[in-house]
Symmetry: C2
Subunit: 339 residues, 2 copies
DNA sequence: ATGAAAGCGCTAACAA
DNA sequence: TTGTTAGCGCTTTCAT
């Protein structure tokens, strides 16, 4: 079995010093005479001693860990954000624990509970929903940072992009290519993130003098499968369109795959713009035109805000990072008849 | 700030009972008289008390947490495994923490350290490398389970598939479609997992009477980018081939994308078989023929083995789960000239 | 430079 | 049924 059972007391006994000295040797070696230090370190080696982190963090009342709760761990979009978080966390000596909220609304509650129970110092949220019953208790909440999402009326530190603006840009791009019947594969309405992108879609249409048609808006959960079934529904309703603006690359990919199955080619028949610029976007056939989010940076900023919050700063800021439209090959000029 | 600072003592004071009774009410309510229980629960509500998990696990000497260390958190393949792990972990009251080893070999060490420090009860490894210096100390290691990978000469509980057999099947399939010049996009050699798949590739060729040509084997790290650059290298060397067998779907996807860029069509010009059957495989153009691994089940088994190990069972087993070749549209009969 | 001792918040054995 | 009490392993005053 394990070489366990070694604790600070045994080390102290073997080294012939007090446990305080052992602790000191390990925590603040400079306070210990070199000679004593050697004895202690020898004893540590001999017993194969590793100090019990649980006891230490318990004693110190801080875990140096942060939980990241994500809408869907299977979406590569979040992973880049996670890596950004992880980078600055490491630099600051924090561990980061990743968790998956899946469709489970109670997960936010549960993870807030975890930090209240001191399993972690703070919680970074990338989920669509915030339990209403917690909204009022905002001042009783543990350290929270929102990344990529936003909750209306909730005054919490947030890192996001200007979704409405990014969407407007996507629509302007499609309109400029001659498209007028543009479908929007939205996120799960009425979540704030989905709403913002939808609002940008509407603004884009408005600016182009195109009237809004809610038959052209199909909500989904950002997954590949959602993209597929949206196209299926559109087809069943005989809805006509020449372009799709999807609220996630995954939905765009699903949509393209389903269009193909139905005999429609992208971009020859239908143009598609995605959102996120996941790594896959560029490996698709056709390579996907999409809105790039600075994912790494979103993560880095989120963790920075968390660290600030944890060291007592109280600023409630919303940071908005820039997006960028990346033209690839999934968009083509609309056929004249359509425009 | 937070509503913290409430601890078991305050609750006890308010409820007019001892702290033991508070603890009991929370841990074993059936041992407490209903009336008392009510008083306590009222006090709990009033103080907004949540018991400090850190103190509890510290006291109980078990964290009820398991760490999952993954080769590359960005590869969707692992996420399904993770979900399988998570499922059985939850049932058994364990939390699971996901961590990314990226290219960092020291991560295994570091995470072993974490469990030695009692941050978690055990470690599930899905990485390609095991630090040599630990191999000898195998009996001093904390509870470890290997999933999807394998380490030669390391007698640890392992869940995997029969990689060699699966690869042979893929090659047989391609050979049966008339292919003879088959490239293998291997994993990072000489890792065991990569080796096993390579061995299956060779065996498949052997059975078909095709001689092995090491120019047709290009190693990579399972990523999309690795698939791309492998094809680029093949092209630069003017290597001819009519089919590719990739050791991961991601590499297959990268390869297809690069082939397209070079003007070669899949499957018309080149046939491709992947490995894993990630969700994306079916959404590609063309949908990817691949080897399906029972990912969910791999995860479930791995966690079951961990739980067994944690409850003192000592069996060192290797469980091998079945794979399945999923024919889709990325393979076509080789042109006569090629065979 | 080192040691003695208090105590982080909780659980569980034991006593009442 | 409830209370008293002894730690879990460590860090950190405070004394020496």
């Amino acid at each position: 079995m394990q070489s366990d059972a070694s604790n600070i007391r045994q080390v102290a006994a073997i080294a012939g010093v007090s446990i305080a000295t052992v602790s000191r040797t390990l925590q603040h070696p400079e306070l210990v005479k070199a000679e004593t230090r050697e004895k202690v370190l020898a004893a540590v080696r001999q017993t194969n001693f590793v100090s019990n982190a649980q006891a230490r963090t318990f004693r110190q009342q801080a875990t140096k860990a942060v939980i990241v709760l994500v809408r869907d761990i299977g979406n590569p979009f979040y992973l880049e954000i996670y890596k950004g978080i992880d980078e600055v966390a490491r630099e600051a000596g924090f561990r980061v624990l990743l968790s998956d909220a899946r469709d489970d609304d109670a997960q936010v509650q549960q993870h807030i509970e975890m930090v209240r129970q001191k399993q972690a110092d703070g919680l970074i949220l990338m989920v669509g929903h915030f339990p209403a019953e917690l909204t009022e208790k905002i001042d009783q909440l543990p350290p929270l940072v929102i990344a990529s999402e936003a909750f209306p009326g909730l005054d919490l530190p947030t890192v996001k992009v200007d979704n409405a603006q990014a969407s407007r840009q996507a629509i302007a791009y499609l309109v400029n290519e001659g498209h007028r019947r543009i479908v929007h594969l939205a996120g799960p309405l009425p979540e704030q993130l989905a709403l913002e992108r939808l609002e940008g879609y509407r603004a884009g249409l408005r600016e182009a003098g195109i009237s809004y048609n809610d038959k052209l808006v199909v909500p989904g959960d950002y997954s590949i499968e959602a993209g597929r079934s949206a196209v299926r529904r559109l087809r069943e309703a005989d809805t006509e369109f020449s372009a799709i603006f999807a609220a996630s690359d995954q939905m765009a990919i699903g949509a393209i795959s389903e269009l193909r199955r139905l005999g429609q080619k992208v971009p020859e028949d239908i143009s598609v713009v995605g959102f996120d610029d996941i790594i896959l976007a560029d490996a698709m056939d056709p390579p996907l035109t999409t809105i790039r989010q600075p994912r790494r940076e979103i993560g880095r900023q989120a963790m920075s805000m968390m660290i600030a919050r944890l060291s007592g700063e109280t600023a409630r800021t919303v940071v908005e990072l820039p997006t960028e439209l990346v033209p690839r090959e999934s968009v083509r000029r609309a056929r004249p008849l359509d425009s």
